[in-house]
Amino acid sequence: MWSSPLLSASAQVPSQAIDHAALTPLYVLAGAAIAVLLADLFVARGRVWLLLGLSAAGSTGAAVTALLITGTGSRSSFCAAAVRLRSGVDVSAACSYVTNYATTAVTVALCVVAVVVLALSAPLLSKESTPVGEYCFLLLCSLLGAVALFSARDLLTLIVATEALTLPMYVLVAFGQARRGIASATTFFTVSVVSTAISLLGASLLYAVLGVVHFEQISQVLRARPASAEMGVLYAAMALVLAGFLFKLATVPFHTWAPGSYDAAPLPVAAYLTTVSKVGGFFAVLLVVVGALGDRLAQLGPVLAMLAVASMTLGNLAALRQHRVGRLLGWSSIAQLGYVLVPIGVLGVRTRGEVSQLLASSMIYLGFYLVITLVVFGALVLSRAPRDDGGALVDLAGIAARSPWTCAALLFGLAGLAGLPPVFAGTFAKLAVLRSLIDSGAVWLAVAVVLNSVVGLAVYGRVAFACFASPAGPADQAASLPPCAGQRRGAPYVLAAAAVLVASVTTAVVGLLPAPLFDVCHRIASSLAALLM
């Protein structure tokens, strides 16, 4: 896809064959996005349901085509031929876009999550003032970016996909209450654009030093030239690329945009940010670290481990001090991503089995985290007025008496985030990470995770307690709160409630019978580990 000026004269740039089958999920999503925009223009009655249905059909279609067409075999597209670089290193042929078992699995997961988020958005969209078409269009575009991201196998495609994922989010964050939403969206936008610029700078430095952008070729060049004069530039480039993607993932010290955006965004958008967007950021980091810079893991690993520990520590401690639900969950997601990232930090010199286990434990945690987070945000959606953000912690007071089922779902999700049984999903997530760390001999990291989990208990325990407090303030203030459950039970809320039910049942089932999830994650991990070796 990208021709290189550093190629030696003898190499010729081949014409690239495009494997359209590999791209079908993207076509489906793009088609659905355009259809949504058009339908928004021409349909007047029952627009909300039509558009929601179209978007859900688009996501489902992408998942189905991913399963049926790209399937579990591997396909690749936009390939560059093997060449001899000017530096004298031979690099093999490499492709920019690859689909295989791993990408299919991730695509299906992302699309399912997006459908749940769409269902949770129903109350928000049924409000008169919400621009439904734009909302669904942006969500689908962002999903397209997320799906493309994990298939990307060169730095530029990865950056483009990441941008496709995040660009629509700036607008979506601003859909909430006017002023705070726009302020946070602007912060988010600025930080994000700067981080993209940093990534690009890093990518161009890497290209300048190595002469390639494909991950496979980068790792080949790094392996062939263990030391060179441009070492300083190389490390600076790696740091810049990683920093850019860590911004998207919101790990310490690149996290400052996250709590504000989570707080100001409407709840379904915040749910999307914590799930799909985080998964995207995580896989971007993973692809760069494992796919491209795998040869330098021994140096990068400790840095990542430190960042992960810092993330969980700062995230948990800051969450402890929050009085707004959105901010609290934002900080908590920073902490949770710390747990996800920890195993990546010890990938350094390892056998293939160990690498695979570490990667798998990361993904297992992420998988459990996805379903649990959807439960938590879903319960919050049910407890709030349509366009609301998460609100203050004290707004939760009395929810146990008002709507016991919503409260039960919220407590269920919180216990999962805290890792407490009987929500075994959370427990097994923690156990998987701890086990892989301990088996790799990184006991100190395991202890760090454990100590942070204890702080986490306090964080989520505090929210749980807030649910049972009796509503504060005089009666008239209570009357001005968003109308209680029962009074505004329209079809949109029924849809959202169904989504919460599905997410809760999935969490419970996946917790009790986690073997399939473990298997899928192990398969994804071993295909990633193959990139490294």
Binding site: A360, I364, A408, A415, L420, P421, P422, F424, T427, F428, K430, L431, A432, L434, R435, I438, D439, V443, A446, V447, V450, L451, S453, V454, L457, A458, G461, R462, A464, F465, F468, P514, A515, F518, H522
Partner: protein, 565 residues
Amino acid sequence: MSARTTFIADALLVSTLAVPALAALVLPLCRLVAARVVALLACLWTLAASCGLLVGHHPARSAVDPWHQVDWAWVAALRLRFHIGVDGISWPLVLLTSLLVTCCVLYLTFGVSGGSGNQPEAMPQRRIPLLLSLVFALQTAMLGVFMSLDVVLFFVFFELTLAPMYAVIAGWGGPHRRSAAMKFLLYTGLGSLLLAVGVLLLVSAAGTANLTQLSAPGGAGLGHYTQLAVFVLLLLAFAIKAPLWPLHTWLPDAHTQAPTVGSVLLAGVLLKLGSYGLIRLTLPVLPEAARSAAWLLGAAAVAAIVIGALMCLAQTELKRMIAYSSVGHMGFVLLGVASAAAGSEIGLQAALLGNLAHGVITSLLFFLVGSVKDRLGSTELTACVGLTVRLPLLAGLLCFGAVASFDLPGLAGFWGEAFSVLAAWQQLDVWWRVYAVVAAVAAAIVVAYFLRALYYLSNASGHPADVFTENVPQAPSSTTFSLKTPGGLRGSANRASAKAAGAAAYEGRQGDENTGRGLLAEPLTAGELLAVIPLVLATLVLGVWPGGILSLSADAVAAIISGAS
């Protein structure tokens, strides 16, 4: 055994876990009457099944030689198998758990007295199904810990106790429930997560999570430093749960704030998870580390005994007093475990007996104190003055519990504590003898604090006025301890204010008695009696016939000790 009887035994084993778990799931959906029926059926079934597990017991040939076991795959990637079973060491505790839960259910089902109105939040009837559900969730978790034969499963069940107990304290607790619940959650949460690290380290080093293999003679065969690291992690986890001084500070708050059933299950069973974990996991699996740390464990246990006793003397409130006495009693259990780690069979048997006795007696006391609180609205000692006259049955039972708690020979508590002192003495080492002597002296202080409580209960002729004006200030026990320390002075100030409150309450009740049935005269409800009587009987049986329990566990104890040395 034939295939058929094996199948029945397996089904029985699984049902002891499955029935409470199902009950916990179903109960929140039930209305009050249905909930009572479901709860009664579930707890009686579990009790019957627990008794039924005794059928087919056989002498243990090794440290873990279960009478019945079930071994199913669960999460292969975590080396987690659903492997449960019972043997002579776990069965008594399984029975204790089922018995106590049955008592709690009877207590909640057949009438909690309505509360005196002095309680800030009387228990609303419609929340009882939820409380019952949490009780069953706790039962599942606790039985699961006792029956686990897979160390990872052990951890999972150990952790499962956290959320329901937090909910019980946070949802039904006293006025300071928030901080008490949080303290419980953080302390014991830290403990169980340290356990997770320890267990995973153990499994990673030994290559198996099967407790039967891990407790083969000589232990799991870990290297010296790994063994030490695992031991330290497990010891911390269990010491927090047991609780062992100096990690006990969560306990008094949790006890004072928890509702009656919460206190009963906390003292009766949850604390046993710590001592059981030490007996089941550390002694047979990590014998070398256990032996080298026995002196430390012994010292901490003796410190717990002494400090528990002294703290008791400083308390003026019954629930807190029993909570601190728990610290002391668990100290004796852990002294037994420490001697066992040093190679004493008697020590291990003392620990097992002490576990059971403490479970029964302390639960009895908490039930009774709960009844006192429901009637008087306070459990300050001064508020209980003259209880023997006003509520003779309750006061009599309370005296029985107190006497049992200070180890009167012939009642349950005596054997465990006497033999753990004996086991320490038999170590033939100066330090262990010092431990034995100090523990024995502290046991005498225990007598002092319960006698002091009895003094308050039986003081006066039923006219609190006598006590309020003259008797109490001159009472030797209270003056001795209230004038010497600043803490004591604070205590006496508290007492003065409580006295005023008590007098006011008494006058109010006099008015009640004139108009109709006074609160003070309210007799024990059927539920309270049904809950208490089995515990009284168990105290007597354990006291008169400890051999019955000892004979069940004797072979396993011998195997553990011989395997360790």
